[in-house]
């Protein structure tokens, strides 16, 4: 399945793409929020610690004193084993703590603590600074308390959060992929259902597609249905037209032929008789061609969707012989039947087989000399053979494969009325049934044997 050419593939890929983007965004947001939360916690503790130190500042005789509360620093130990630094500055002098701890930048003001991230002694530290006015209101001093802590614990927390967020992101992505697969399958189910219902029909089934299509497909289904309706109407119009055309052409031809026969009877001069005789032959030829072309069109039409009737080939052969016996009788030709007594079962299109056998027998009668015999036989071997063997002019010097080509007639057939479609029809019927038409010269050198071989 080429994903570029499959709706399901495209839908799936797009859903997976969206899931990947969402997973990434989810990962980034979770990590960001968690890190900010951890950072916020550290800031709060640093501020609380600085405030606690500031709270213990005293002013005695204009001197600022500090009794460093232990709890102020021990609360910082709750996060992790990070090192803690502090510095209390009063009027530019370091009162206590690490004198080289940089002061926060920007500097804190009264009531506004300042937070900053600095590098101190080779480590990244986070620092919080508060300002406190110490001493009597008239002569107070601004004292800055700065508390800093390394961020190793925070980095560990951040790593843990990243790992978790990555895991959740991947899990989300995998789940989303599975859901995409399911969703794309589900979304396409109505299409698959429709495709199946269309694919199941035979080529002759031109009824409207009955399934209730999804809204998006309704225009397509409507177009398909209206196309099928038009096709079906046009096919039945074509059939009606052919029948009507045949009627219109044949009825006046019948009048002309009947009149010509009458005239032929009444004429006495041989040259006049010959002229009318040629007229009648021309009429016969055109009517025969028209008939065989219609038969040929019918064969092509029916061969596409072969009927599977339960047939008895022996009975079928009998019917065909019955049908053409009067025609053979006119030339004193005897049709000998060598048929098995038991029915010969075969599944196929009875109308087509009848057309094929009639064409073969009709051909045999046409090319047989008067007073001769045609043998119709049905034999059951590994295949089924339906054959007509005649004592006619045979196939002297004729390319047999050419006889079954459309409008091709044997080179020794000039004096017989024909269209060159008879054996083509038989050949096509045989092939539609998975069999073949065989034309072989007779053993004794007189006539030919034309047989329809069908698989059992």
């Amino acid at each position: 399945m080429n994903p570029r050419n499959s709706i399901r593939g495209r839908l799936f890929l797009q859903l997976v793409g969206v899931a990947a983007l969402l997973s990434l965004a989810f990962f980034l947001v979770v990590r960001g929020v968690a890190e900010r939360a951890a950072e916020g916690t550290q800031d709060d503790i640093l501020l609380a610690s600085a405030t606690a130190i500031a709270d213990s500042l005293r002013s005695e005789d204009g001197q600022v004193t500090l009794d460093l509360p232990y709890s102020a620093l021990s609360m910082l130990g709750t996060i992790s084993d990070d090192r803690v630094f502090y510095r209390v500055v009063s009027a530019g002098d370091t009162l206590t703590g690490y004198a080289d701890l940089p002061l926060a930048d920007p500097a804190p003001t009264l009531g506004n603590p300042a937070f900053s991230t600095l590098v101190y002694r080779g480590d990244e530290v986070r620092a919080a600074a508060v300002v406190r006015a110490v001493g009597p209101a008239t002569d107070s001093q601004a004292v800055i308390v700065s508390v800093a802590q390394t961020r190793l614990g925070l980095a560990a927390i951040s790593r843990r959060i990243t790992t978790t967020a990555t895991g959740v992101g991947i899990g989300f992505f995998l789940l989303a992929t599975l859901l995409s697969l399911w969703a794309s399958h589900l979304a396409l189910r109505p299409i698959v259902r429709m495709t199946n219902s269309v694919a199941r029909r035979g080529p002759q089934d031109l009824r409207a597609v009955p399934s209730d299509p999804p809204e998006e497909l309704a225009p397509l289904v409507e177009a398909l249905n209206s196309f099928m309706a038009r096709l079906s109407a046009s096919l039945s119009r074509t059939e009606d037209f052919i029948a009507e055309a045949a009627h219109r052409v044949r009825t006046p031809l019948a009048t002309v032929r009947a009149q010509a026969e009458l005239t032929h009877r009444k004429l006495t001069k041989p040259e006049h008789k010959q002229a009318v005789r040629e007229m009648i032959r021309a009429i016969d030829e055109s009517s025969r061609s028209a008939g065989q072309m219609l038969d040929h069109a019918m064969v092509t039409f029916r061969a596409d969707a072969l009927a599977q009737d339960e047939l008895d080939l022996a009975a079928l052969m009998n019917e065909v012989c019955d049908r053409l016996a009067p025609t053979a009788d006119l030339k004193d030709i005897t049709i000998k039947r060598a048929l098995p007594d038991a029915p010969v079962a075969f599944k196929g299109d009875g109308i087509l087989l009848q057309a094929a056998l009639q064409n073969i027998l009709d051909n045999a009668i046409k090319y047989s000399s008067e007073d001769s015999t045609i043998t119709a036989s049905v034999t059951v071997a590994s295949d089924l053979h339906l054959s007509f063997s005649d004592q006619g002019r045979g196939l002297d010097g004729i390319d047999i494969s050419e006889l079954t080509t459309r409008f091709n007639r044997g080179s020794n057939a000039d004096d017989v009325v024909g269209s060159g479609l008879g054996l083509t029809i038989a050949d096509e019927v045989a092939r539609a049934h998975g069999g073949q038409l065989k034309i072989v010269p007779n053993d004794k050198g007189v006539g030919a044997c034309v047989s329809l071989t069908l698989p059992r």
Binding site: I242, A243, P326, A355
Partner: protein, 221 residues
């Protein structure tokens, strides 16, 4: 034979009637089913020739009605349509045979004879001359205690002679009766068939005589 022709095309009907009469048949013509019903109720026919497309109905309906009748007259459908399936459905509906327009009258006659023979010789189609009987339906020649089966061409040739005993028929006339338009036959072929008929008639009361320069005629032996 007595025919009922049901055909709405007037020109075609006239030609068919005339052509059948030429061979000695009696023909009534109905151009609608209604007229045909009237004919059938008052006369007996050996055969009905039925066109399928008619102004006052479908010939197929008529076929089905005919089938239900007690005394059933055989029907040969003359159809201008030619799809094989169409023709087969006609037989299923009860037609005894069909012939596609335009048709050869010799073939029509052969089909009529075949249908009548299948029906068991319902029609009385015997002609006799000088103690010799020709049965067209069974294709038999009978005289004394002889009964001879005739081949188709022998029968048709004898029909000509039995139709008008004593009359001289030219070779070319006999050829017209005997050979179809697609056969290339020479006048010698007639001599061959006449020779055969003479053999068939040996021992009967009739014989065929050569009238030099004119043709042949049948006379009492």
């Amino acid at each position: 034979m007595r025919f009922l022709l049901i055909e709405d095309n007037a020109k075609l009907a006239r030609a068919v009637v005339e052509r059948l009469q030429l061979d000695g048949h009696a023909v009534d013509h109905a151009d609608r089913l209604e007229v045909a019903e009237n004919f059938i109720s008052v006369a007996d026919y050996d055969l009905i020739l039925l066109d399928i497309m008619l102004p006052d109905g479908d010939g197929r309906t008529f076929l089905q009605q005919q089938r239900q009748r007690e005394k059933r007259t055989p029907v040969i459908v003359t159809t201008a349509r030619s799809a094989v399936s169409d023709r087969i459905s006609l037989l299923d509906l009860g037609a005894d045979d069909y012939i596609t327009k335009p048709f050869d009258f010799a073939e029509l006659e052969a089909r009529c004879r075949a249908v009548l023979r299948r029906q068991g010789g319902a029609a009385d189609n015997r002609t006799s001359f000088a103690g010799t009987i020709l049965d067209s339906t069974t294709a038999e020649l009978k005289f004394g205690d002889h009964s001879i089966d005739l081949r188709n061409r022998e029968l048709r040739l004898l029909e000509v002679f039995f139709g008008a005993p004593g009359q001289v028929f030219s070779k070319s006339h006999l050829m017209d009766r005997l050979f179809s338009f697609s056969d290339e036959a020479s006048e010698n072929a007639i001599e061959v068939y006449v020779a055969r008929l003479r053999k068939r008639l040996e021992g009967s009361g009739a014989r065929i005589e050569t009238v030099r320069g004119l043709g042949y005629r049948m006379v009492a032996a």
